[in-house]
Amino acid sequence: MTRRFFSKSLYWSDAALKALSFLALGTGVSFLLLMIVFVLRESSLGSGFTMNLFDFLVRDPWAPMATPPSHGIFHAWISTLVITGLSLLLAIPLGFGIGLFLSEVAPRWVQQVMQPALELLAGIPAVVYGFFGYVTLVRNFEVWFDMPAGECLLIAGLILAVMVLPFVASTAAEAFRSVAQELREMAYGLGVTQLYVMRRVLFRKALPGLFAAVALGLARALGETLAVLMLAGNTVAVPHSLLERGQPLTALLATELGETVVNSAKYQALFASGFILLIVVLGINAVIWILKHHFLERSHA
């Protein structure tokens, strides 16, 4: 009967702590909701949005200084898609490999060096990555490919992959590590190779964790602003190849929002693109969440 040993005041404090925790949780969640409401309100997407949604997303160019001004964001979401896709394409296989190596193959001292190194990489500010890409890749691209300006989607994707990599790798390593040791031993007991264990046991069991790794990487890649702003070229023409310049949604917002007349058509368009970014991130997270639970259930069955 442990209860009797607690004084009455401790119950009070328990209740208070519980209330405070819930309050903190509520505040956190309501921030997210308020943000969505705010962005939606400022964009006037509900009512009073001056553009046809198809024109806004696909047809119109971004030409706010033209007469009449036009605020289409086709170039921006194409750029976002290309840069994010490219960075994940590079970071996911590499990150899973690093994770597998760290949790299964690497000797202890390598793990002890690599884990902090990954955390350090994750903590480097975006502007440093951007600057690094600027002084190395951008300059060299100008020489190698004889481009008037070195900035392009390819460089932005490459640097973004490096930025996303530590998140994917350390989350993946964690996922592999959390697979029960007995499963490994059982498999080895059956006489299979290490590669087989990795492929058929670890990958399956770690799948929910790996989804989390991808989700984390994706969110980071979609939301990244400064580095892509510096490296993608920030040009409003629609890109046709990886070596052309582009302007991801985040860069568009960062470039334009500060000087924009509040509640103007351009302001609405910018907030609408912010809303789209928000919805896409939420949507992808939801899909990954659903997939994760789907696989969790299957692996328990």
Partner: protein
């Protein structure tokens, strides 16, 4: 146990303290909040720190004020933010590096603007850029470059190489871009292939490293760089003197804005910027407004 109590105390102090502060509205407020244009930011921040150093408390500014410590906060955010923040009351004084749009004027209602300085705009290239063969650019040449009609140097001058010109523009809503559009491009539009540079610093850096680029920026900043060549526009050099005597037309106003009528404390600071502050403005290379007719 103790931890919990401390936690509760901490929580209460964090939530209640701001409420208490909010209720003291009618009391004398020794703080002035300023925000907006990043062009004006360094100038006004310098003025603010000198103002605070010189007077320390408000009673030394004017004996009718109480002996409260002077606190002036200056933040950036851009001209658009500055104007919106004045509307909302987020800041007391807004900074803008462009004239207000009609829509903003109607939203703001009665307001006061103070012309603090002017910023002279110049076109510049890297010293290794082929265009350095020229000394002067006409309105038409610039319009052809920035609209994308002339894609190579050769199309500007047949003696120049057949290499593509890289156009650098500032973000569309910034004051400088608006000047280029209304005074040079006129009915033409900016080329879609222009690189939009998000800040004056990035603009300078890019021009210093890229030998194909042409851009526009504050003429002082361009002239301070050893790597850049600054062009005459229509035969007139972009100097402060030429802005003052009206020969050089490409300049933008740097404004301080107040919603309604300024509080006496704000007015004192604005007066300071308009008088003693003009020296700082001149030191930083902008055109002091007292000399503009």
């Amino acid at each position: 146990m103790k931890n919990v109590r401390m936690l509760v105390a901490l929580f209460l102090s964090l939530t209640l303290a701001p409420m208490a502060v909010a209720q003291e509205k009618n009391k004398f407020d020794g703080t002035v909040r300023i925000g907006g244009s990043t062009t004006l930011l360094p100038v006004i921040a310098d003025c603010a720190s000198q103002f605070m150093e010189k007077y320390e408390t408000w009673d030394k500014v004017d004996p009718s004020f109480p002996k409260t410590r002077i606190l002036i906060y200056v933040t950036g955010g851009g001209s658009g933010f500055g104007i919106k923040a004045v509307m909302d009351g987020t800041v007391n004084i807004g900074m803008s590096s462009r004239d207000l749009k009609d829509a903003e004027k109607t939203q703001l209602g009665p307001y006061k603007e103070f012309l603090v300085s002017k910023d002279c705009l110049a076109f510049a290239v890297n010293k290794k850029n082929p265009l350095t063969k020229k000394d002067n650019l006409t309105r038409e040449e610039i319009a052809r470059i920035f609209s994308g009609e002339a894609k190579t140097f050769k199309e500007i001058d047949p003696s120049l190489p057949n290499k593509p010109i890289l156009i650098q523009m500032r973000d569309a809503a910034g004051g400088s871009t608006e000047i280029v559009k209304t005074m040079i491009l006129k009915e033409k539009n900016f080329s879609q292939n222009a690189i939009q540079v998000p800040s004056q610093g990035a603009n300078l850096k890019k021009l210093e490293t890229n030998t194909n680029a042409i851009g526009y920026l504050s003429s002082v900043i361009a002239q301070e760089s050893a790597k850049l060549k600054v062009f005459k526009y229509e035969g007139v050099a972009p100097t402060n003197e030429n802005v003052i005597n009206g020969k050089y037309r490409l300049s933008r106003p740097l404004l301080l804005l107040v919603n309604g009528t300024p509080e006496p404390t704000w007015q004192k600071f604005i007066d300071y910027v308009l008088n003693d502050g003009q020296k700082i403005i001149q030191e930083q290379g902008y055109v002091p407004v007292r000399t503009i007719r």
